[in-house]
Structure formats: structure tokens, C-alpha cells
């Protein structure tokens, strides 16, 4: 289990997600009521970078087609996505020096506040869905 330093807590804005990457896996970090959540960085609908969307009323809204996910747990709130945004099975560790993130399959309890420097995690949902390569995503990848 290796720890990857991906961001400082202060880097994660209140009104949007922050994309971080470990290997080829893109992750979006969100602030939710003083805690952090980590989800798949690309929209399960068409692969848009979710960090380029907005965080409003506890929902993360996709920049491309305005699918919306509950920031708390990634649940689907608005189409055209058909699935929840998978909570990545990452264990976020907040340390004084920054946010460490670690691929971890040990279920961890939700909760804790940043000031307590607790370990945070998100519920392990389904495996990260790879969106179909089509249209805009395919164009973006090609360019």
C-alpha cells in the first residue's frame, strides 16, 4: 500500500472539484461539509472531466451534458448519466503536509473532520465504469 501525495487540502475549492491523477486513474476530490470525498474523475456518461463542472447545493454537475451527482456519495441525481459516479476505493489521508491518497480496499468508516486529521473514505461502489469512446470524448482524446 503506497501513499501518493496528490494535493493539499487547501487546493480543493468549495465550488468545484479538484482532479488528481495516480497512474492513469483520474480522481475528482470534493469538499463536502468540511470533509473530502473522492470519485471517478470522468463522468460515467461520456467521460467529461468532472472537475471542470460545478459544485452547487451538494451536487456535482458535469460540465458537458449536466448530469448531476450527490457529492455525499456520488448517487445519480440528474441524467443523462445512467449510473452513479463510482466512489473510488481510495483511502484519503489528510496530514499536515498535505492530502495523501492511497489505493486501499479496506472498508473505512465515513466521517471525521479535516481538523482532526482523520482518514476518510468513500463507500466502495461498483467498479469504475469506462465510458464508451464516442463523439466528443473520442475527439478530445484524439486532439
Amino acid at each position: 500500500m503506497s501513499l501518493h501525495r496528490v494535493a493539499r487540502f487547501a487546493d480543493v475549492a468549495q465550488d468545484r472539484g479538484l482532479e488528481v491523477q495516480i497512474g492513469d486513474c483520474k480522481i475528482v476530490l470534493l469538499r463536502v461539509a468540511g470533509q473530502l470525498r473522492a470519485f471517478q474523475g470522468e463522468c460515467p456518461h461520456a467521460g467529461a472531466p468532472l472537475a471542470e463542472g460545478a459544485l452547487c447545493h451538494g451536487r456535482l454537475i458535469c460540465p458537458w451534458h449536466k448530469a448531476a451527482f450527490r457529492a455525499e456519495d456520488g448517487a445519480l441525481c440528474e441524467p443523462p448519466a445512467l449510473d452513479a459516479s463510482s466512489g473510488i476505493r481510495w483511502n484519503c489521508v489528510v496530514m499536515k503536509s498535505g492530502l495523501m491518497i492511497n489505493h486501499c480496499r479496506i472498508p473505512m468508516s465515513l466521517g471525521g473532520t479535516i481538523s482532526e486529521a482523520l482518514s476518510l473514505s468513500v463507500p466502495a461502489l461498483q467498479e469504475r465504469r469506462v465510458p464508451p469512446l464516442c463523439g466528443r470524448k473520442a475527439l478530445a482524446d484524439r486532439s
Binding site: A54, R59, C62, W64, E78, P79, L82, P132, G135, L139
Partner: protein, 365 residues
Amino acid sequence: MIDREPDAGYDRTVLSKFVLSGETPPQQIPPLRDDDFYREQHVNRVSGTVIALDAQTCTLHLADGRTLNYSAAVLATGATPNALELPGADLPQVFVLRSRAHAGQIMKIARPGQRAVIIGDSFIALECASALRQHGLDVTVLARHAIPFVAQFGEAVGKAIRALHEENGVKFIIDHPAREITGDGKVEAVLLDNGLRLSADLVLAGIGVRPATEAFASLPLENDQSIRVDAGMGVTDNLWAIGDIATFPLNGQPRRIEHWRLAQQHARIAAANMLGADEHYLDVPYFWTWHFGRNYDYLGHAGQWDAIEFMGDPEQPPFIGLFGANGLVVAAVACEQERAMALLAERMKQPLPMEEAWRLIRAVS
């Protein structure tokens, strides 16, 4: 799930945007769900066409003679493209676009260098004009309006989109409708009402759709043949209707809206209510339209407005335009302002004064 198309549901939005441009082959259009999903969720797919509904006895009649009874049913038959009513409209290179099969027929014959005549200036018509042009065809649009999309986007954005098409070589002929398509077993030309003859290899009509409700003649239908539903998408006991066929209350006004995402919003509400919930449409309609690599976003549904304000120039994206009525935002149109539009998609669920909207937009732009 009864479907008249042979394949499971697929992403129809790519047909006019990426299939006709040659970027996505018709057989690679992504399915909404793979076969495992239907199997695992115990969704039984029935290939067939419903020809009649008896809501009293909760019975559906299929074209092949089968009957099915339901405890709860949702009608989601969508729309049928209007066909041209002209001499020559039955020639094999005269098309409409709604399905994968339609797109397949078009792409079977469309080749770079050919001449395409698009009849109509709807969203489908102009998306097809863009896609076929990008595929290398010579494209002429027979438009009903000097500026497209004025009713939805206003003049400034409509002009900018027409200019974008013209910069990319699309020709527009305004207000000279086609009178006849000529050719001996094969499209050769389109004759206009002013006597002009346009040589053509293919003709594509984008002149609107009508609700596909022929099978539901037993229900009371609106003048446009749609089905009136309540705020929970309910028609009558145990019956719901959604999407293109549904006239539903939006902010208290009966509306029928032909957006892909809105049909999915309807579907989620109907599904919850079929399971006993009491959900209503309180969301914000949204659609996107794709022209020459530019994506235009539209939120809300404004029949009329008393103010339109812009940040940025519609001719030079990024820009965002807000439509106001009595000081509140009723719709927004934008290009390359995706974060701001994502924010508005959520924030417009509550009344949003124009000034506050601009503050929010400036804060994230």
C-alpha cells in the same frame, strides 16, 4: 420493455452529431446498457410494435397479434420525423434522421464531394448540415428563416451559428421552398419555387417531428397528438407517459419539449411514481447542440423574454447569454462556458434574479 427497433436503446444524440460526420460508424453507436444489464436486472426485451392500448383493462395489443397486460405501464414511444410531401420524395436518396437505421442508410451512400440538400432549419437539420459538411459533402440548406434558432436562442446567437456554418462552406437559401425532387430512380436535383434547380445526390429533411401516438388513439390526445400528463407524468390509473409524446406542466404551463435529457428526467420521475412515490417535475430543461466542433448549451425554456444580456460575443465564444422575464432568469444559452452553465443547471431550479446570476457566473468564469 417493448421496442420496435431491433437493437436495445442507444445514444440517439450522436446520430446527427458524430455519425453523419463519419466519426462514429453506425454500428459503433454506444448502447445505453449492455446485454448483461438487461439480463441481470431481469428486464425482458420484447421486439414488437404496439398498435392499440386499452387503459380500462390495462391491455396492450401488438402488431403480431400478441396482447400484454400490465399492472403499471409507461408510454415512451418518442416521435416520428415528418416526411416531405413533394413529388419525388419517395426516391431512395431522400432521407429523414431519427434512428440508427436511418443513419446507416445515409452513410451507405454519402461520399465526400457529393451534393447534399438539407430541407429545413431545425436543430436536426443544421446538425446534419454541419456533420455532412465535415464529412466532405457540398451542403445547401433550404431554410425557412433568415436566421436559425431565433425562437430559442435569440437573434444574436442565431446569426452567429449561421455565420459559423457559412464560414465552413454551408450555403443557405432562404424562403424558397422545394417544390419537387427530380430524378429517374435516383435523386438528381431539387427544384425550388423560384425555378432554381439545385443538383443533388442526396436530400435530407429536418422539418420537425410529431408525437408517435398512433397506437394510443383510445386516449384523449392534444391537438399536436401528444398525451397530456400531470406533474408526476401520470395519464390515468396505472399509466404514465414521458418524453416527446408528453405534454406536461412546466412551471404551471403545459409544455411539450423534445430534449433527450428531459425525456430521461421524465423517466426517472415516472419510474419512481410507478413504485408509489409522488415526484413531480421541478427540474431545469437542458439540451446541447453541436456545430463544427462548437457545443452550444441551453438551459430553461423561454417562450418569451423581456431582456437578453450577454457576457462575451456570440460570434467569438466563449459567451453566455441570459434571457430574463420580470427580472428573473428564464433561460440561458452559452458556448464554452461549461462550468457556469453547470452551476446554473442546478441553481435555476429556484427563482434566480438576473443580477445574482451574473454574480455567480463571474465568480466561476
